[in-house]
């Protein structure tokens, strides 16, 4: 533990207890042996149920809460507010946004120290990228919008082996994008369209070497590294403005190496985002607007 004199100190080191040794060893049937279908029985293009609401943080100009699977995200938007005169660099360009994503100490299985982790910086940066195209910042010169995200829970407690902490970028980025955009709308900030995020896992069939995809992967599906008879090779997260069908952000990793397939995967994500937008986000937006009246 790094020394943090600004907090109440606990013991120097602490650990998550190891899982029990399995006494009677009925060869644990790893889910990978299933040849067909996904672990939770969804179709390949089916997204998990998503819950979204607004107006959770009263102090903020706008806020949103998004929950999907085990991931729970609160976002608050403060602003637009004036940038201090000393920081205005030129008077012609538009406003700017700052994104700050934080994991709560209790968000993951192992308690997180208060120091920021690299994953949080990377989430902030990717979120920034994905939101920027949707905003009309030229209309807000010399001002700044602060977008703060607090991740309350980063993984589903029951589904994951305790020794694993997914480099949760792909799992967390999508709900962060959705929440941030909802909060911006709740703050009544002008934008082209709300941005919806969706992730997609890419798998390779070990016998035929063919790639295939699964929309909205859970941490379990990524962690077990196998799904529907395939081996996990990569991830893709897309931010989309569904009403105008434009992609605002794309993060992709893994050993994919097939441009045609990438195009297909992105298209699948765009379709999934359109579905999320139609069913959930619109409803939350309407509720937010009604509450304002």
């Amino acid at each position: 533990m790094a020394l943090d004199s600004k907090r109440i100190k606990g013991p120097e080191k602490s650990f998550v207890p190891l899982p029990l040794l399995v006494q009677s060893t009925p060869t644990p049937t790893p889910t990978s042996t299933k040849t067909k279908g996904r672990i939770d029985g969804r179709g390949t293009d089916e997204v998990r149920p998503l819950f979204a609401t607004t107006r959770l943080v009263r102090q903020a100009s706008g806020s949103a809460f998004v929950e999907v699977g085990g991931v729970k995200v609160v976002c608050a938007v403060y602003g637009p507010k004036p940038v201090p005169a000393s920081k205005v660099q030129d008077h012609h360009s538009g406003g700017r946004i700052s994104c700050d994503v934080r994991l709560s100490p209790f968000a993951a299985l192992k308690r997180k120290q208060f120091m920021k982790e690299p994953a949080e910086h990377s989430l902030s940066n990717n979120l920034h990228t994905a939101l920027l195209p949707s905003l009309l910042l030229a209309h807000l010169p010399k001002s700044q919008i602060d977008i703060h995200i607090q991740i309350l829970q980063a993984q589903n407690p029951t589904s994951i082996p305790p020794n694993a902490f997914v480099s949760s970028l792909s799992l967390l980025l999508a709900p962060c994008i959705t929440a941030a955009s909802l909060a911006l709308a709740d703050a009544q900030i002008e934008m082209m369209d709300s941005v919806v995020g969706c992730n997609l896992g890419i798998y390779r069939n070990p016998s035929t070497q063919k790639l295939f995809w699964m929309v909205d992967c859970t941490e379990e599906e990524i962690e077990t590294r196998s799904n529907g008879g395939g081996v996990w090779v990569g991830n893709c997260v897309v931010g989309v403005m569904p009403s105008i069908g434009k992609v605002t952000g794309l993060v992709m990793d893994g050993d994919i190496g097939d441009v045609g397939f990438v195009m297909e995967a992105v298209q699948v994500c765009v379709d999934a985002c359109a579905k999320i937008h139609e069913v959930v986000v619109k409803k939350a937006l309407i509720e937010s607007a009604q509450a304002k009246e």
């Binding site: 020394l3 004199s5 600004k6 907090r7 109440i8 100190k9």
Partner: protein, 220 residues
């Protein structure tokens, strides 16, 4: 018989106080309960950072430094409590747009450092000639496991204490608790008892202040 040679539960350790112990500060003092000793320095009214500037009063900057190691939440709370106390005592509005800086350095800790810090700060402000409404005197009390009230406990006595109370009173109005901070588990009656004893002990400290000041001024 108490751990450090005292015979009575309501007995303070020998008090010590001196003024002007630092040559560069505008005011300084050292205050001690026995081996618990605290050094306080005051600079000001002096220039204030624009960020902290108040247009209608002086800004109080308080910092508390521990005897050893890094300062932590304990010291931030001590600073906040000291600020509450000093803000009420100092006539900050006669020095607008300036800063008054009070630094507390613990130089010996055998329990009750917070009380010593309040007393030292009050004396250092007096030494610096900062206008004050009143002087502050603070004492700490503890209930031992048998429910006996001990005045000015040592570290050893604090270790086993059931509850610990720090009271501050001013010399202008002893019907008002200038500051209180209690921890542990205690009843309302115990609290009242502690408050009454503290009131008397603070009066003793106030007369000790007077005596020390008279001694300082006498030869001149």
């Amino acid at each position: 018989m108490r751990s450090n040679g005292r015979t009575d539960e309501h007995q303070l350790r020998p008090l010590s106080a001196s003024f002007g112990v630092l040559s560069r500060a505008d005011g300084s003092s050292r205050f001690g309960f026995g081996t618990t000793e605290v050094l306080a320095s005051v600079f000001g009214p002096k220039e204030v950072r624009i960020r902290d500037e108040k247009i209608d009063s002086a800004t109080l900057q308080i910092s508390v430094r521990p005897l050893n190691g890094l300062s932590g939440p304990l010291h931030r709370l001590a600073e906040r409590q000291l600020r509450d106390l000093i803000e009420a005592a100092v006539l900050a509005s006669i020095h607008p747009r300036s800063a008054i800086q009070v630094t507390i350095q613990v130089t010996g800790d055998d329990g009750c450092f917070m009380s010593a810090a309040v007393n030292a700060a009050s004396l250092a402000l007096l030494d610096a000639g900062v206008a004050q409404r009143h002087l502050l005197a603070s004492v700490t009390l503890a209930f031992d496991p048998n429910g006996t009230l001990l005045l000015d406990p040592s570290l050893k006595e604090l270790e086993t204490a059931k509850s610990v109370h720090t009271f501050t009173f001013s010399n202008s109005n002893d019907a008002v608790i200038a500051g209180v901070s209690s921890e542990g588990v205690y009843s309302q009656d115990e609290y009242k008892q502690a408050c009454t004893v503290a009131q008397q002990a603070c009066a003793t400290i106030h007369s000790f202040y007077r005596k020390t000041m008279e001694q300082k001024l006498a030869p001149q």
